[in-house]
Symmetry: C2
Subunit: 332 residues, 2 copies
């Protein structure tokens, strides 16, 4: 493993010149450059990443903090992030936090201790204040969440629009009694989806029935519980907007067990367009997020921030409705 000085000696130049050739920016005589390049090739020289980092105080890598590594779409997000970053010759360090504030903070500290050049954070449990503080000292992109104080650092989906699209689709089919099974409302995405649901109803002059809104926690289990609770009510409903696909799946389990036909007796819309959504029976109508585009924008934005740019706030990404088989007109 040759060092820069060995290359320099081989090419009869100084280490400084080899360094300049490696960078490529500063002017070097063509003949000299040729000799150096030949030496590099002959010796199979590759610069030592540690020495480079120490001298330049940049690590050449960014960190990714993720609440739920095993979540349904992290793979798609990471895939695009990794590809975009590597194209820029930047490596990706991953740390997970399991959705607990303490462990997520640990993950951040861990990556910061590794002197990452920047951070992409996809975490629920960290506070807005903490993220805003972090953004002041480190290039930071917040994924799938909006923090008002640092809008320019946030890549997120317009969840309100997604909730609206789902609900309006049901309204368009003629439904008037639509329940909503939400995620944890302290989380922004869940709250946004609910707001969209409410806007769609109001827009059509339909009174929002607070009893028909049940808060869950995005798990299948809570979808089951919510659906069971809705069925136990006296008030009739003909459709349900679920907080995400997992909750919708839970709801379907209950409906199947009770012999409620989908979509004949009850229509259902999910959110996220997980892999499963296409495969269940009937196939789940759901809301799709352009995750790959979001991830690419996140990576590119972070790279610019690392390079010192200051950027305007991005526009939110827009969800689309995927129509499948769980929605139909109400019985009558």
């Amino acid at each position: 493993m040759p060092t820069i000085r060995e290359v320099a000696a081989y090419a009869s130049v100084s280490a400084a010149t080899v360094s300049r050739v490696m960078k490529g920016e500063v002017p070097v005589n063509a003949e000299t450059r040729g000799r150096v390049e030949a030496a590099i090739a002959a010796l199979g020289y590759a610069p030592n990443a540690f020495a480079r980092s120490l001298a330049s105080n940049r690590m050449g890598g960014v960190g990714l903090v993720i609440s739920h590594l095993a979540g349904p779409f992290m793979g798609r997000v990471m895939m695009t992030l990794e590809a975009t970053l590597r194209r820029a010759n930047v490596s990706l360090l991953v740390a997970s936090g399991g959705g607990e504030a303490g462990r997520e903070q640990e993950a951040v500290d861990f990556l910061l201790g590794r002197r990452c050049d920047g951070l992409i954070v996809h975490a629920d449990a960290l506070s807005d204040a903490m993220l805003a503080t972090l953004a002041a000292t480190t290039p930071l992109v917040v994924f799938n969440r909006r923090v008002l104080e640092i809008d320019a650092h946030c890549i997120y989906l317009d969840n309100e629009c997604g909730g609206y699209l789902a609900t309006r689709h049901l309204l368009d089919q003629g439904h008037r009694h639509i329940a909503c099974l939400t995620g944890p409302l302290r989380q922004q995405d869940a709250a946004g989806r609910l707001a969209g649901y409410q806007r769609a109803l109001k827009e059509r002059g339909i009174q929002v029935d607070e009893q028909a809104i049940l808060e869950g926690d995005f798990t299948e289990r809570s979808g089951e519980q919510g659906m069971a609770a809705l069925l136990a009510r006296a008030a009739p409903i003909t459709a349900v907007v679920a907080g995400n696909d997992d909750m919708a799946l839970g709801a379907m389990t209950i409906l199947r067990a009770r012999g409620v036909a989908i979509p004949q007796t009850l229509s259902l819309v999910g959110y996220d367009n997980e892999a499963c959504a296409r495969h269940v029976m009937p196939a789940l109508t759901t809301v799709h997020a352009p995750l790959e585009e979001m991830a690419q924008e996140a990576a590119e934005r972070l790279l610019k921030l690392v390079a010192g740019a200051s950027l305007p706030a991005p526009t939110p990404f827009m969800p689309t409705l995927i129509e499948r088989e769980t929605v139909g007109p109400p019985l009558s």
Copy 2:
């Protein structure tokens, strides 16, 4: 951001002593140690990772090479890897290769260029020879694949056993005409599963019908094509062993379209126990791999290799059969 020399000055000792206190192993006078620790606390000192890496020639992190980051179970694997590694204060760098040999090699080179202390490789496209060579120069763990020359570096599932379990389950139900829709047979996992299928049949004295073995590529699409081809044959079959759950899902799509009842007319077994498997109708009987345990063993083994240990070959991990609803006795 104080340096070690500032801490040293504050505590009226030399940088060497501070370094020793940080490490904790070498003997330092209790009183001196106390002063140094106080200085560290007072100044909020944290050692510079680059300088440390440069001097010690260890980066304190390992690389993960993954063919398909968005695959159905990478999340579960990464989650356990990350947690195990971080407990040892080792960071995880991720690089993907999209299943192409060239890009996977690039990913390896990229991580090696970053001077990772070791590598976990979960890749189909890299050759056995390449991996064996790599293992000679770098601490390496190969995940979900067996390379005979470097058995001690491989963490893998006994796929032969998985194929056997799936097939024997069908045999136990009374099936005698069982087809097999395999993955790409140049891949070890697909070939292993097929071998298990064949062993189970032979064990019961059933002639293996080569016409009933169709090679696919683990995609849903190839499951559809395979199933269609099987239905087009004259020879009757009452059950199918699929190479993985995706192929089983594809097969189900075709069967549903043709009005073939599962499991009344045809039984079906998948492989991998993806999230979907529980949710499809009927719920898919499949083979489950203990991914978390495998990932933990992989991480721990790599850490030991990095530390310089030389280890005996691990025992293969054993799959289990998850019985759900796609298998029943044959009609007649």
